[in-house]
Symmetry: C2
Subunit: 403 residues, 2 copies
């Protein structure tokens, strides 16, 4: 608390979505005085997410590097969930049930079968299922469903419980959570020195961690090229309530419908999340009626009981997408600035790994500083590699400067 009044900290984290909260908690816990700044902690894309921890289910052809990051982070999830729950005395709703993928028709099945073969070639845990086997796992599937596969390792967490627990863990750790917007990154002598808030106050810090989601590239004060492009990708999701209908799903269900993916994530509370679009469009939190329509139409094709759920709300948020849809984690093209953004559809899944990697960058005296995998290092988009810059030019290497 005093930290925010003083305007001084070892690290200031811009953004308190799941990434900013997880990073801030890890840094403070590692002994760095940390301030996390966000006008709406736990909001944005993290709040609208469904909380699927699904590296296999999210796999697309050509995205094997993202898969590897997802699998790495998924392995950290059970311990991370326990640790957050213990630190906050709050539940996070981690459920280690698998995910059932089904095809709405024969054409969709052909695609899923190919994808399952691809899983096999990569050694992933994925079981091909006949129509009958799908129905045994989920009796209320639509009559037209044509087989699918089961990904036993694709779990879920209740993202809203998680965000509340993480925020509490941050508070208990002694880090400050400041409810303000960041007006700009302060730079002096080719180095990030802190942030200026929307009320004019400044927070000076040894390092600035940029975890501001899709806005990460838009902050004032950033030199050109310091942050690779981050674009907003709209995701829209429906919040339904299945308790009244008595027709609940047993597990997370993902459908492929005329080539369009749709998912239904049941919560123990009776809440049912139906998502999600990925729309490349100008940033807006408004829901598009056409997206509501298509989500409901597609969900009906795999799970007709969705019609009998209560409709609570349609919500939308902008995800942060990098040019290759992989995250940007680690030193940026400006000394003192570390990125933790660009997580696209995988912010919840990738949070434990991201927090560990950022802590590895910044914590002095860490016994084993993990190196940032090249697949998520921001330097992959630099005109000249950041590491070369760091060794030869005005920029000092942020990874090691505090050690």
């Amino acid at each position: 608390m005093a930290t925010s009044e003083d305007g001084q900290a070892d690290v200031v984290v811009v953004g308190a979505g799941v990434i900013g909260l997880a990073v801030g908690w890890r840094l403070q816990g590692a002994g760095l005085s940390t301030v996390v700044v966000d006008p709406d902690p736990g909001g944005g894309a993290s709040h609208v997410a469904a909380g699927m921890l699904a590296p296999v289910g999210e796999l697309a052809y050509g995205e094997e590097e993202l898969l590897a990051l997802g699998i790495d982070s998924a392995r950290r999830w059970p311990a991370f969930a326990e640790e957050v729950a213990a630190a906050s005395d709050l539940p996070v709703g981690y459920v280690a049930a698998g995910t059932l993928h089904v095809a709405a028709d024969a054409g969709d099945y052909a695609y899923l079968e190919d994808l399952w073969r691809f899983h096999g070639s990569l050694g992933l845990d994925s079981t091909l299922l006949s129509t009958r086997e799908c129905r045994e796992r989920e009796p209320l599937l639509a009559p037209g469903v044509r087989g699918g596969f089961f990904a036993a390792g694709d779990h879920q967490v209740d993202n809203r419980l998680l965000l509340a627990a993480l925020a509490e863990a941050v508070r208990r750790s002694g880090a400050a959570l400041v409810r303000h917007s960041v007006a700009g990154i302060d730079v002096a002598g080719d180095r990030a020195t802190g942030v200026t808030l929307d009320d004019g106050r400044t927070i000076t810090a040894g390092h600035v961690v940029l975890a501001a989601g899709w806005r990460s590239g838009t902050l004032a004060g950033l030199p050109p090229g310091a942050v690779p492009p981050v674009r907003p990708v709209k995701g829209q999701l429906l919040r339904l309530e299945s308790a009244a209908s008595g027709l609940a799903l047993r597990q997370t269900l993902r459908g492929l419908v005329n080539g369009r993916p749709v998912y239904l994530v049941p919560r123990a509370s009776g809440e049912l999340l139906l998502g999600a679009t990925s729309e490349e469009m100008p940033a807006t939190d408004a829901s598009r009626s056409g997206a509501v329509r298509i989500l409901l139409d597609d969900a009906l094709r795999v799970f007709p009981a969705v019609d009998e759920t209560s409709f609570v709300a349609s919500e939308a948020a902008m995800r942060p997408g990098s040019p290759d849809n992989r995250p940007l984690i680690g030193p940026a093209g400006l000394d003192g600035l570390v990125l933790a953004t660009g997580h696209y559809r995988g912010g919840i899944l990738l949070a434990p790994m991201t927090a560990d990697l950022v802590a590895g960058c910044l914590v002095s005296g860490a016994t084993a500083v993990p190196s940032i995998p090249a697949s998520c290092s921001p330097g992959r988009f630099a005109e000249r590699p950041f590491s070369k810059d760091e060794a030869t030019s005005r920029r000092r290497p942020p990874v090691t400067e505090r050690s």
Copy 2:
């Protein structure tokens, strides 16, 4: 104000939807001290409505008597709107543009053409339109639309502006608006003597007007048979926003899609209302996902730009339906009790007429007491006519007892 504290009034009105507010305002304005009781004034079905004033558009075969009531009330609307606006210094959003009805396909057109002939047989203002003529009135109609008709006299009011203005008019008139639930109707000596509130207070009154919507038959204390059956009929409506899309409707549009009616009501503000279901089911304010889906699907069939609107919310409320779907206005089967309920889909349209009729029942010394049309008199459901009862039995005639 003093009235509610005293627990004494000439009339207590149970319910502050559009009917209760209009009645209360009229009664107080006519010199009767009036208390209107509702835990949520301006809520319920009146709040969720779209505000169509559409006696022609709502016409169904066999409902000519309801049509006559609607036409009567529609004629009162221009003066009523002006009067409410003047009394409250608030806008009510009355728009005297007509309503375009279109058919989604040839089958739907056959039905609309028949309906138009029926209009002609009743002398209604309704113009048959070719596909081209429909498109001239509304250029963004779906390619599949097949003709329709235009009802020039079917107008609209912004129901939420109206409710706010009516509540203000009630306050300015000197009537009391009490934000409580009514626990029961008080009856003494075969006569309604007032109401007991949920906090135990009582309000005694010369007359009780029951304007409690679908709950009108459920209040404690009512003798069997005093109020004809009133059932809840769920209506679900979507609130959209077309301002951002720039693709606005010019007028209220009603579509017939595979025999299902759907409407789109544009507001000057950019708001677009999409409705509405009529579902006979247990009372609930929860929206059903299947209804959201069908409303969006059907609207798309006549006006594709609906996909580009912003989705704000799905809302539902229970309408009050009598056994023949016509309202229940006038003396009930209990002395001192007057009904103003059962307005089903027509509460907004029928409010001016209802207020005038109830005032005619209760205002002493009225120069011309209007008789209650038989088509909406509650007595039509009595085992023996109320009028006979009134003349011959324990019940005094409420219409005249105060004169």
